[in-house]
């Protein structure tokens, strides 16, 4: 009790810089919200991203698990079909070469699908309220921070997948192909991250979110071309797989893998039942999916007061 009764040394709280800043931001009758991509937007996004990386640094288990998982897929699942005759899986010389693209995309997708969970926990603990009561330039900074973090994680995972595939005999894409692989993964990650964050604002709690992740993850994998080519599937599944956004990320990457130095935007990457999908068309679908996800979650981020 003695500490409370002794008068504390009077601290000088006067701070001219603070006063000047305060006058700038809070005097006057209107202050415009700085908005998307302003320097304020990047300041808040940077700080939120930094928080996620500090968490990762002090609790690296998510990254470790996130790297072990695709390694297991590549080694164990790859071994399952190791002895299939060459040429069965399209142009690939072995199943490992075929599987690589599927695992790269599926791993990135899984990571992005989980992006909303930390936000959901922030919501449940009340930490998110700190963001919501603050004069954020845009609440898309919450999305941007998660997306940057998840993108960095999936880049590490992708690098591991590419290296391991190469070690397992799948070869390497040419440099331009590698760049395109990165671009495709990032586009998919941004779109899925946005959807996952949307869920974390819309659902009542993390149980629901985990349930959604659970019922989405594997079905989307099995209804895509990650593990087998379209030609293996019954017609109805071919239709489903050609509507699955994952296929539009997997097939271009696979094509780049199988045709090093011999691919272009006009290359047909997927013989969908309704059309021959070119590389350019697949990219357009991915970008469209990403834009649609971002637009879709806008009302949720606003929650009327924006």
């Amino acid at each position: 009790m003695s500490t409370t009764l002794t008068p504390k040394p009077q601290l000088s709280l006067d701070n001219p810089d603070l006063r000047q800043w305060k006058a700038q931001v809070s005097n006057g009758s209107t202050v415009a919200t700085p908005g998307l991509l302003s320097s304020e937007f990047w300041q808040e996004t940077g700080a939120m991203t930094r928080r996620l990386f500090i968490q990762l640094q002090r609790r690296p288990s998510t990254l470790v698990a996130g790297v072990i998982q695709p390694v297991m897929w590549l080694i164990l699942f790859g071994a399952l079909f190791q002895n299939v005759p060459a040429g069965l899986f399209g142009d690939s010389s072995n199943y490992g070469q075929f599987l690589g693209a599927g695992i790269i995309v599926f791993t990135a997708f899984g990571g992005a699908l989980n992006a909303g969970l930390p936000v959901m926990f922030d919501r449940e603990f009340g930490f998110l309220n700190r963001f919501l009561v603050a004069p954020l330039a845009s609440r898309y900074s919450i999305v941007a921070a998660s997306a940057i973090f998840i993108a960095a994680m999936s880049m590490v995972q992708t690098a591991v997948c590419i290296s391991l595939s190469a070690a397992l005999g799948a070869g390497l894409p040419d440099p331009a192909g590698l760049a395109l692989v990165v671009l495709i993964v990032l586009t998919l990650v941004l779109g899925v991250t946005a959807l996952s964050l949307g869920l974390s604002f819309a659902l009542p709690g993390h149980i629901g979110q985990v349930a959604v992740i659970f019922v989405t993850n594997l079905p989307l994998l099995f209804s895509s071309t990650a593990l087998v080519p379209l030609s293996f599937m019954p017609p109805w599944l071919q239709v489903v797989a050609s509507l699955n956004p994952l296929s539009y990320a997997i097939e271009p990457i696979r094509y780049i893998y199988l045709h090093p130095g011999n691919w272009g935007l006009g290359s047909v990457v997927m013989p969908a039942p309704f059309a021959e999908v070119t590389l350019a068309a697949a990219l357009a679908v991915l970008i469209g999916f990403c834009g649609m996800s971002l637009a879709l979650i806008q009302p949720l981020l606003r929650r009327r007061i924006a």
Binding site: T4, V25, T30, A47, R51, Q55, V133, A137
Partner: protein
């Protein structure tokens, strides 16, 4: 100069439940304003509308003239919000959390750096600033929370139940700190269902019940309005029913006694309302002596804010609390709160 806080005709429903029906009050710059009421009265909903966490269904809410609906960015910049439950990221250190907070309010780097050091010193966090907040005690967490809420030097600091769940020492620390803040010119709005807290801290009080403001004024004004003094009397430590009844009949007949209530929950102690500034204490003692009744203890006090609440609603805060606890669906409320608007 506009009032620090203006709330006019505020209304907010969650589904079928009218959490706030009609709440109006103004807070002048530099005062500590208390929002007192039982749990479930609508205090937190009012605060949520004020802090832009919920959208009002109707009414006007302004922070120093900035409407939370029309100009939320400005209102947010002027507000500091301390939630009832301290929500920290336990993996981050105190300093890292303050740095995050500074960025959320777009403080320039140098301003933020100096201000963070200042707040760490002011709230005596120096030894802990570089340790993970997950290792903090309850009192430390509250202090860090205060530092975060005050970092951008808000004009109005809003605290929802600032001392619920805190130990007594931390509680008196928080009280003292809020008084210091007021002395430095910050406007403070706090909600509480602790009478003593509101009574001890607030310059003015709004008593809120079932979503409506039922009284506003300084604690003294409100007490004067109720009138009379209170005498609590114990015949014995545990008085038998017979003696308590006998004493009641006896005392009720006295001219200076307005009302006698036998409080069974307190071992049949007698609660008297007597005319103020009389020699009621002496008269009561005299009457008991003449009737050959013993006396274990007696004390006189002014009416409390609970008496104000009782006079306005016909029940005590404690009763309201118990009634509310029985009828509340906490799970549904939590859901609504998370849903926000």
């Amino acid at each position: 100069m506009p009032p620090a806080v203006l709330v006019e005709g505020l209304k907010k429903c969650y589904g079928d439940v009218e959490a706030v029906r009609d709440v109006s009050f103004t807070i002048e710059p530099g005062e500590i304003f208390g929002l007192l009421g039982p749990n479930g009265a609508g205090k937190t909903t009012t605060i949520r509308c004020l802090c832009t966490l919920s959208t009002p269904d109707a009414g006007k809410v302004e922070i120093s003239g900035a409407s939370v609906l029309v100009n939320p960015a400005l209102a947010r910049q002027r507000l500091g919000y301390i939630a009832q439950d301290v929500a920290l990221d336990k993996m981050l250190t105190g300093r890292e959390l303050l740095q995050l907070q500074a960025a959320l309010y777009h403080m320039p780097r140098k301003v933020a750096r100096d201000r963070i050091e200042q707040m760490i010193a002011l709230l005596e966090l120096t030894d802990w600033a570089d340790k993970k907040s997950g290792t903090y005690s309850g009192g430390l967490k509250k202090r860090l929370d205060l530092a975060m809420g005050l970092l951008h030097q808000p004009d109005v600091l809003v605290l929802d139940e600032p001392t619920v769940g805190l130990d007594i020492e931390t509680r008196s620390d928080v009280w003292q700190f809020l008084r210091q803040l007021r002395a430095a010119g910050t406007t403070v709005l706090l909600t509480s269902h602790y009478l003593e807290e509101v009574d001890a801290l607030s310059d003015r009080v709004a008593i809120i019940d079932q979503g409506k403001v039922i009284a506003v004024g300084t604690p003294n004004e409100l007490k004067d309005r109720v009138g009379g003094d209170r005498i609590t009397l114990r015949i014995r430590e545990f008085t038998p029913d017979g003696e308590a009844d006998q004493a009641r009949t006896l005392l009720q007949a006295l001219a200076c006694v307005e009302e006698v209530i036998v409080n069974e929950a307190q071992g049949n102690s007698l609660n008297l309302v007597v005319t103020a500034q009389s020699d009621a204490l002496m008269t009561v003692q005299q009457a008991l002596k003449e009737a050959n009744l013993p006396m274990f203890g007696i004390s006189q006090s002014r009416p409390s804010l609970d008496d104000v609440y009782l006079a306005a609603t016909g029940r005590t805060l404690m009763d309201a609390e118990i009634a509310a606890a029985g009828s509340r669906d906490l799970k549904a409320e939590r859901k609504q709160a998370m849903k926000g608007s």
